[in-house]
């Protein structure tokens, strides 16, 4: 077998076997499972089976029934019970935990409802809000009947205004599509961001470990540094794809299982129902290119340090670039058509995230996406050639070396003159 493949599989299999890799993968799988089963998990922890009990002290003895009706239209899980006792008895019952809270209903001078809500703590705002909304509706109904409005008149009054957004540009995404795109782009951006940081780090560490343990000198006497560098980058690239494949397949199947409950839940809002194929393809392209860009950078930075402790310091500027790209992308999620976003999407270090954001959220001309990819590929090629030369000299350089001046020294080492 060719040396290139030997190094590639050696890197891949050895990393695959490390404890840290197995543990992170398992942990992330657990998180993915937890996220996709969120509704089920919440249900398990809810002792009362999702029902929330509220005691109602009705001083008027006429508000309870209509209020209950209103509440049931808003949230079926709130269970109201008419409490037949004194206020202090009710308070005691709440403190004992028999009820989530109690509500005292009364009428003011104008014969409109008023209420006091008491609970052990008032941290649960959603229950309170539901009760308040119900009571508000009840009040509106009562007030309307006091001024003798017919239900038809009432309906007219409350009918929402008709207001539609229309994008004039052809192929522009509808509001619904945009929301959907935002969700998927958001998640994929996160994946790109974390993978790039994590695996670029892994490469820099790998190179620095070989260098600091001095095994490098034996390696480069049998295989050219350039071959080594790329075998390593691709080996770890395979590792990242393996890990992602595990996450995505676990996520996908778990998601399928819980499809129904999730559609209603928060994930539904982000439109994971159907992901457009184009977005996925672009995500894969930008993920791979982004990985290569930063992996090459990390490999040659890693080749410059002689001690593992210096790796972090050396790759900090690179990490900051990734973070900056991610920040811009986060800003761009809300305003994908800002000129600033358009410009930054052509800066190679930001392209993987920002160009992807743009293709995911907007309908941009194909040439722009292609131009972005071309800029990226050209930068990778440049970095690979330049990086390989630095790598070749860098791996032979020992001693105090953690500044960018060393790039020059490393290049000098490979020169013939």
């Amino acid at each position: 077998m060719n040396n290139f493949w030997i190094i590639l599989f050696h890197t891949y299999i050895n990393k695959l076997k490390t404890k840290s890799f197995i543990i992170t993968t398992l942990l992330t799988v657990l998180i993915v499972l937890a996220l996709t089963n969120l509704t089920n998990i919440i249900a398990i922890f809810d002792k009362s089976g999702g029902k929330e009990n509220v005691a109602v002290l009705d001083e008027t003895s006429q508000l309870y029934e209509p209020f209950k009706k209103q509440v049931s239209t808003i949230n079926k899980d709130i269970k109201l019970t008419l409490f037949k006792g004194s206020e202090t008895e009710a308070e005691e019952a709440v403190e004992k935990g028999n009820y989530q809270g109690m509500i005292q209903l009364g009428l003011n001078k104008e014969n409109l409802p008023l209420a006091t809500y008491k609970a052990r703590s008032i941290a649960d705002s959603s229950l309170f809000t539901d009760l308040q909304t119900s009571l508000q509706q009840l009040k509106t109904m009562l007030a309307a009947s006091q001024i003798h409005l017919s239900p038809v008149q009432l309906e007219k009054l409350y009918e929402p205004v008709s207001f539609t957004k229309i994008a004039l540009e052809k192929n522009a995404k509808t509001e619904e599509e945009l929301n959907q795109a935002r969700g998927i782009v958001y998640v994929l951006l996160f994946i790109i961001y974390f993978s790039v940081i994590m695996y670029a780090n892994m490469i820099a560490m790998e190179v620095a470990t070989e260098k600091s343990s001095r095994v490098m000198e034996i390696l480069i006497s049998s295989v050219s540094p350039i071959k080594q560098m790329f075998a390593k980058i691709i080996g770890i690239g395979l590792l990242s794809l393996t890990q992602l494949a595990v996450f995505l397949s676990v996520g996908y199947f778990s998601f399928k299982q819980n499809m129904e409950s999730l559609k209603e839940g928060f994930l539904g809002v982000y439109g994971f129902g159907d992901i457009p194929l184009g977005t996925i393809i672009y995500a894969v392209i930008f993920f791979i290119l982004g990985y290569f860009l930063y992996a090459t950078l990390a490999a040659f930075l890693g080749s410059l340090v002689s001690r593992i402790e210096d790796v972090q310091q050396m790759i900090t500027p690179m990490t900051l670039l990734v973070v900056a790209g991610f920040m811009i992308a986060m800003f761009g999620l809300g305003k994908p058509d800002a000129p600033f976003i358009t410009v930054t999407s052509f800066i190679p270090f930001f392209t993987p995230m920002i160009m992807f954001l743009r293709v995911g959220m907007l309908t941009i001309p194909v040439w722009q996406a292609v131009a972005g990819i071309a800029v990226l590929v050209a930068t990778i090629a440049f970095l690979a050639i330049f990086g390989a030369r630095v790598y070749r000299g860098g791996v032979l350089m020992y001693g105090q070396s953690n500044s960018f001046k060393d790039i020059k020294r490393a290049l000098q080492l490979t020169k013939n003159k």
């Binding site: 077998m1 040396n3 030997i6 190094i7 050696h10 050895n14 470990t209 070989e210 343990s213 001095r214 095994v215 490098m216 000198e217 034996i218 390696l219 480069i220 006497s221 049998s222 295989v223 050219s224 032979l396 020992y398 000098q412 080492l413 490979t414 020169k415 013939n416 003159k417």
Partner: protein, 299 residues
Amino acid sequence: MVLKLEHVTKRFGNFTAVDDLSLVIPEKEMFGFLGANGAGKTTTFRMILGLLDPSGGKITWDGQPIDYSTSHLVGYLPEERGLYPKLKVRDQIVYLARLRGMQKSEALSELISWLDRFKIPEYENKKVEELSKGNQQKIQFIAAVVHKPKLLILDEPFSGLDPVNVEMLKEAVLALKESGATIVFSSHRMEHVEEMCEHLCILHKGRPVVHGTLKEIKRSFGKKNLVIHADFPLNFLKNYPGVVKSKPTMEGIHLQIEGEYIAEKILKEIVSKGFIRKFALEEPSLNDIFIEKVGASYE
């Protein structure tokens, strides 16, 4: 398969690490490189291996430059020992051997025979970081020779080993030479070079100051050592004409003299003075030559 260095020079910026070095290392010979720290030995080795390109001159082996196409014929033991600390000995050696073009099964059987030879077969499945330094060095040595190289470059192979292990490693090196490998090695320890090498070269500040076969070098050096043990004071010999250096010892004196004829004169001079326990004329040791040649240019 002669290794030839022709007018090889290596400069790093303004610093000249190796200066116009020309050597011929015959096949199946053991060649010793001597030199103080920073003399350019490691740089020379790196150039021979093709890790660094010379700034001038050329290096050929059997008429061909050494590059990655011949790397399976070359073995290298770097001065700074380096192995993967977290990897098992077996995985490590097999990986490195495969990179040198060996089959996995072949590498394994070779590894086992080497481990047996070094009497450490139980380390096959241990991680390198769990081994003692001396044992790590044996593993490192195995890594350099497991693929049966034709050209073996050993940078300080015996440093940091106890005498028993030095002997074991020396025997292994000699056996490799017997089996037809050309071996180039460097050392600070003169006696190792003296004992093992036919040819040697003393490098100083990148220049070869002495170069040739051991016998030639000693002969051309001229000076001899004279050891005298006697019952009467010998201090007057310090200033005797023809005595280059002197060092009093408990039992007598050690002298370095310009030639054999001085010894004759001294013997005649002292024979009447009393009882002489020992009068020995010795060849200069490599150590003397080294100190003289390298020390001289320090002044």
